[in-house]
C-alpha cells in the first residue's frame, strides 16, 4: 500500500475512540447503563463512582451542560505534553479536581496534571489528538 494512504489511515484511526455524540452529566446520571458509542462502533461506559465525583464537583444547575466524556485535546502545536480542556463546565470540573481557580472556557494543562485527571477520571475523560 502507498505509504501516504497508510499514514492517512493511521491518522484517521488515531481518534476513532472518540464518541459519536457526547451526553450530559445529567443524562449519564439518569441512565441505567451510562456510556457513549464511539466512532469505531464500540461502547464506552462511564464509571458510576466517577459520575458521582463529577456531580459533587459541579453545581447541580450545570449538570446538563457538562458533556461527557470530557475531551483532553493533546496538541503538538502547543508543545509536547501540553493539553487543552475546552468548555466552561468542563474547565470548572477539571480546575476543581486539580485544586485550581476556574477561569474562562479554555484550560491549558500539562502532562503531570493530565496524569492526575486520568487517574481520577479514567472513563469520563478521553484523549483527542490534533495537529
Amino acid at each position: 500500500m502507498d505509504p501516504e494512504r497508510l499514514i492517512e489511515k493511521e491518522l484517521a484511526r488515531l481518534n476513532a475512540h472518540l464518541p459519536r455524540a457526547q451526553i450530559s452529566l445529567a443524562e449519564a446520571l439518569r441512565s441505567e447503563r451510562p456510556g457513549v458509542e464511539t466512532r469505531d462502533g464500540t461502547f464506552h461506559s462511564f464509571g458510576r463512582d466517577e459520575l458521582s465525583l463529577l456531580s459533587r464537583l459541579l453545581e447541580e444547575g450545570m449538570w446538563g451542560e457538562l458533556r461527557l466524556p470530557i475531551i483532553i485535546w493533546m496538541s503538538r502545536g502547543m508543545g509536547s505534553g501540553a493539553a487543552v480542556i475546552r468548555g466552561k463546565p468542563e474547565v470548572r470540573v477539571i480546575s476543581a479536581l486539580l485544586g485550581r481557580p476556574a477561569e474562562g472556557s479554555e484550560l491549558v494543562i500539562y502532562r503531570p496534571e493530565v496524569a492526575v485527571i486520568r487517574s481520577r477520571l479514567p472513563t469520563t475523560t478521553q484523549y483527542a489528538f490534533t495537529r
Binding site: S45, G47, S80, Q126, F129
Partner: protein, 217 residues
C-alpha cells in the same frame, strides 16, 4: 518508495514529496503523542496493579489463616463438604471502555460478600469459623476481580504501545529519512539542470557574439 534512479527530477515531483514529508512528520508527531499518553496510562495501571496485588495478597493470607482455623475446629472432611455445597457463582456487571482504540473491560465494583444463608451450605453442623473463612475469601475475591481487570489492561496497553512504537520508528527511521533523501536528490538534480542550462546559455551567447563580431569585421 522509488529509488533515486527511478525518481523523475521535476518540480512537480518535488512538491509531491514535500507534501508527503509534511504528512509523515504530522503522523509521526501525533503517534509520538499517543505513545506518550500510552506510557502514562501504563504506569498508572501498573501502580494500581501493585496496590491491588498487595491488598489482595494480604486479604488472601487472612482468608487462608481463617480457613486453617476452620479446618482445625470443624475437621477437613466437613469443611470440604461445606465448600462443595457452596454456591460458586458471583454476579458481575461487565462493560467496556475504549482507551485510544483499545477496548478494555470494565467491572463495576463487584459485591461478592454474601450473608451466611446465601452461601448455600447448611447452617446445621457448621461452625462460625467457616462463616468467617467464607467471608474472608469473598472479600479477597472482591480484590482479585479488579486486579485481574488491571492486569488485562496492562497487557493490552503494553501491546498497543509496542505496535505504536513500531509505527513511530518506521516513520522516524525509514520513511521520513527516505523522503528527505529523495527531496535532496531532486533538489540537487534540479540545481544541476539549472547550472547546465546556465552554462549552455552562456556558451550560445558567446558563439552568437563571436559570429556577430566576424560578420561586422
Amino acid at each position: 518508495m522509488a529509488t533515486a534512479s527511478e525518481l523523475s527530477p521535476t518540480r512537480t515531483e518535488l512538491i509531491r514529496l514535500r507534501r508527503r514529508e509534511a504528512l509523515a512528520k504530522t503522523g509521526h508527531d501525533l503517534l509520538e503523542e499517543k505513545m506518550d499518553a500510552l506510557v502514562m496510562e501504563l504506569f498508572s495501571v501498573l501502580r494500581r496493579m501493585q496496590e491491588l496485588r498487595a491488598s489482595a495478597f494480604d486479604q488472601l493470607e487472612r482468608a487462608h489463616r481463617a480457613l486453617s482455623s476452620c479446618f482445625a475446629a470443624m475437621g477437613t472432611q466437613e469443611t470440604v463438604q461445606a465448600a462443595r455445597e457452596t454456591v460458586k457463582s458471583v454476579e458481575l456487571e461487565v462493560s467496556t471502555r475504549n482507551l485510544m482504540g483499545i477496548v478494555l473491560p470494565v467491572i463495576e465494583r463487584p459485591s461478592a460478600v454474601r450473608n451466611a444463608l446465601g452461601r448455600g451450605y447448611s447452617m446445621h453442623g457448621t461452625s462460625a469459623l467457616l462463616d468467617r473463612a467464607a467471608l474472608e475469601f469473598e472479600k479477597a475475591l472482591e480484590l482479585l476481580v479488579p486486579l485481574a481487570v488491571a492486569e488485562a489492561e496492562a497487557f493490552a496497553i503494553a501491546e498497543e504501545l509496542e505496535s505504536t512504537k513500531r509505527r513511530v520508528n518506521a516513520l522516524e527511521y525509514i520513511l521520513i529519512p527516505r523522503l528527505r533523501e529523495a527531496i535532496k536528490f531532486i533538489m540537487m538534480r534540479l540545481d544541476e539542470i539549472e547550472r547546465e542550462n546556465f552554462s549552455r546559455l552562456k556558451r550560445i551567447k558567446k558563439i552568437m557574439e563571436e559570429r556577430e563580431w566576424t560578420r561586422s569585421a
